[in-house]
């Protein structure tokens, strides 16, 4: 069956089911930047052996940044003991979700561990942020969630239900242990022998249902003034978040500003139209969110740095977004020596900001497959370059923030390419 048929067929799902599924989700986030592919696994021995080898080759510090010490991938690997899941195509064509015991998750935001030689005050800030986040998580877990009215809850043993609305506003719910069978006309009917319970639902019960939906609605539609990653569902949550942050002396990420390059978008669309013979609809590039590549480069320097960020204007930008307290993300394009254009995704995470450390996450297929080396950039900053297949991570502990950049590479990506990418940025200028 062609996907296009399914695309259209799924439009036939009634509003009620779409709304039910939409309102089930309390999240109000936009765009969902976080890449939640899976969850990671416990450390493995092969991984420990690699760390010991890495310890032998670690280099000395420079003045502008803290060395990664013996950390290597530990600085970015999330270790919450949960397995990584992957989609795998089977021989029969089916897709199956399988656990990958070798896989791991990496964080693009706060470091997962601090180097031993880091300023104790900074280490204390990171520990402080972790403790604050743990308290915030406990608070969130303690908050009551809207409860489905008892009258609508499925009895034990039932897996199916149908509903018969009555003219007086009541309804009859029937719960079955098995799905419907076809009658003589092929219409679905339930086998009476599988009936578990028949229940009358009063108009008052339906009112309770509406109230339940409205509570979910209010949660979902709450517009928090803080980053959606905090998960504030109401003003009480916001107040609790502020109280915890204040008590721990941490800042909060407020609303973010997202900017794009109209030059990059225009080029991309023209290229796509030429390749596909299509004609993309015009975009109004007049808004303040649309800048040239050069203007975006200047803006990054203005809002996130005390000087130049990129030495030269990149060939293109995917996006740049920033928060007022100093956290920012820049996704830019780079062409490898072999002519392949790749994306580089850098994230600057402030130590003094309340953070989960998992706001932006990606997955690697084999957590033991990292190679590690250090590299000294033109401004004297020593960065750590980790490589895992066609992907690489360049990270550095700065005095006030952790900068981590994921290189979404391609076959043929060389060490020289990675050095050039690392050298494109003046790390010592990061921070206001």
């Amino acid at each position: 069956m062609k996907k296009e048929v399914l695309d259209q067929a799924l439009n036939g799902i009634r509003d009620r089911y779409v709304m039910e599924a939409a309102l089930y989700d309390p999240a109000t986030d936009s765009g969902k930047e976080t890449k939640m592919y899976g969850k990671n696994v416990k450390p493995r021995r092969r991984w420990l052996r690699m760390l010991l080898i890495a310890a032998v080759v670690v280099c000395l510090l420079t003045a502008t940044a803290y060395a990664a010490g013996l950390l290597g991938p530990r600085a970015i690997l999330i270790d919450d003991g949960q397995p990584v899941y992957e989609y795998q195509r089977q021989e029969n064509g089916n897709w199956e979700v399988t656990e990958n015991p070798e896989g791991g998750r990496v964080s693009l935001t706060q470091p997962q561990e601090a180097p031993e030689d880091m300023d104790p005050a900074v280490v204390a800030m990171l520990e402080n942020s972790k403790a604050a986040w743990a308290e915030w998580s406990d608070y969130k877990a303690s908050r009551p969630m809207p409860q489905e009215p008892e009258a609508f809850r499925m009895p034990t043993g039932a897996f199916f239900s149908d509903e018969e609305l009555q003219s007086d506003g009541s309804g009859i719910l029937r719960f079955y242990s098995a799905g419907p069978i076809g009658d003589d006309n092929g219409s679905p009917v339930y086998d009476p022998d599988t009936l578990i319970e028949e229940r009358t639902v009063t108009p008052e019960d339906y009112e309770a249902w509406d109230e339940y939906i409205s509570q979910l609605d209010a949660m979902m539609l709450f517009e928090s003034r803080y980053d959606f990653n905090y998960g504030c569902n109401n003003a009480e949550d916001e107040a609790a978040l502020e109280e915890i942050a204040a008590r721990y002396g941490l800042k909060l990420r407020g609303g973010s500003t997202l900017l794009w390059s109209w030059e990059t978008v225009k080029e991309s669309r023209e290229r796509m139209d030429a390749e596909t013979g299509t004609s993309s609809p015009e975009i109004d590039f007049s808004g303040p969110q649309w800048l040239t590549n050069a203007e975006l480069t200047d803006r990054i320097a203005q809002v996130g740095c005390h000087g130049t960020f990129f030495y030269q204007v990149p060939e293109g930008y995917d996006k740049f977004y920033y928060f007022d307290e100093g956290t920012f993300c820049v996704s830019w394009y780079y062409t490898l020596e072999n002519g392949t254009q790749i994306t580089c995704y850098g994230y600057n995470s402030m130590y003094g900001t309340l953070s989960s450390g998992t706001e932006v996450v990606d997955q690697v297929e084999d957590r033991s497959a990292f190679t590690e080396r250090s590299h000294v950039c033109p401004d004297g900053t020593e960065v750590t370059i980790l490589r895992n297949g066609n992907r690489a991570f360049i990270y550095v502990y700065l005095p006030e923030s952790f900068f981590n950049e994921e290189i979404q590479g391609a076959p043929g990506m060389s060490d020289a390419d990675l050095d050039a990418i690392a050298d494109a940025i003046c790390y010592s200028n990061i921070g206001k």
Binding site: M1, K2, K3, E4, V5, L6, D7, Q8, A9, L10, N11, G12, I13, D15, Y17, V18, M19, E20, A21, A22, Y24, D25, P26, A27, T28, D29, S30, G31, K32, M36, Y37, G38, K39, Y85, Y87, G93, W95, V97, E148, F152, M154, A158, F160, D162, G179, P180, I181, G182, P188, L221, E223, F228, L258, M272, E275, T276, T278, S280, D318, K319
Partner: protein, 185 residues
């Protein structure tokens, strides 16, 4: 602001309507678009085009519920965007989700066997009525909103394995159901 008041603003041709609907539903629309196109810029374009479409169709329409109407517009725009991007070999988790469903429904043997999309849609809709609520939410979130298994697990408070199992069972049931409805699989 209540949906009715927002609709009134559309009927009054007040541009405040766009601001209010964006404030109220922008988050879930962006998320839905992003799930399908998997690209921040394209997702933002889909949502922007949704506002334009709402402005152009209300009035004369007065859709209720407004959220569902807006979601359908966004979803269709995102799917269209994805299909265009497919020519650029950009893949999407939405396609992975659809392939699960494709495998459940199986391929037609020739053009004359292509299912009528509307009839199939009606059948899937009726089938959803036979599912328990959690399974139905999981199904719709997976195949309509293109949410990941992990995200659905988070929404429902289940483990990813439990969600995978539940989706698989739902697909099996759908297969049986479509056979009973006379839709060849």
């Amino acid at each position: 602001m209540e949906d009715n008041r927002i609709l009134d603003l559309f009927f009054e041709r007040s541009e405040q309507a766009i601001g209010e609907v964006s404030k109220k539903y922008g988050g879930i629309l962006r998320r839905t678009a992003w799930n399908i196109v998997h690209d921040q810029r394209d997702a933002e374009e889909c949502v922007s085009d949704t506002w334009l479409s709402l402005w152009n169709t209300i009035p004369p329409k007065r859709p209720e519920p407004l959220l569902s109407y807006a979601l359908r517009i966004t979803r269709n725009l995102a799917v269209g965007c994805l299909r265009r991007n497919t020519a650029q070999k950009r893949s999407s988790p939405y396609d992975v989700a659809l392939e699960e469903l494709e495998d459940c429904l199986a391929a037609p043997s020739g053009p004359e066997d292509l299912l009528d999309a509307k009839e199939l849609g009606r059948s899937i809709d009726r089938f959803l009525g036979t599912l328990d609520k959690e399974s139905r939410v999981a199904f719709v979130r997976r195949y309509w909103f293109a949410d990941s298994v992990q995200d659905i697990a988070s929404i429902l408070g289940l483990s990813p394995n439990a969600v995978t199992l539940r989706l698989r069972r739902s697909r099996e049931k759908l297969k049986q159901y479509l056979m009973k409805e006379g839709i060849a699989v």
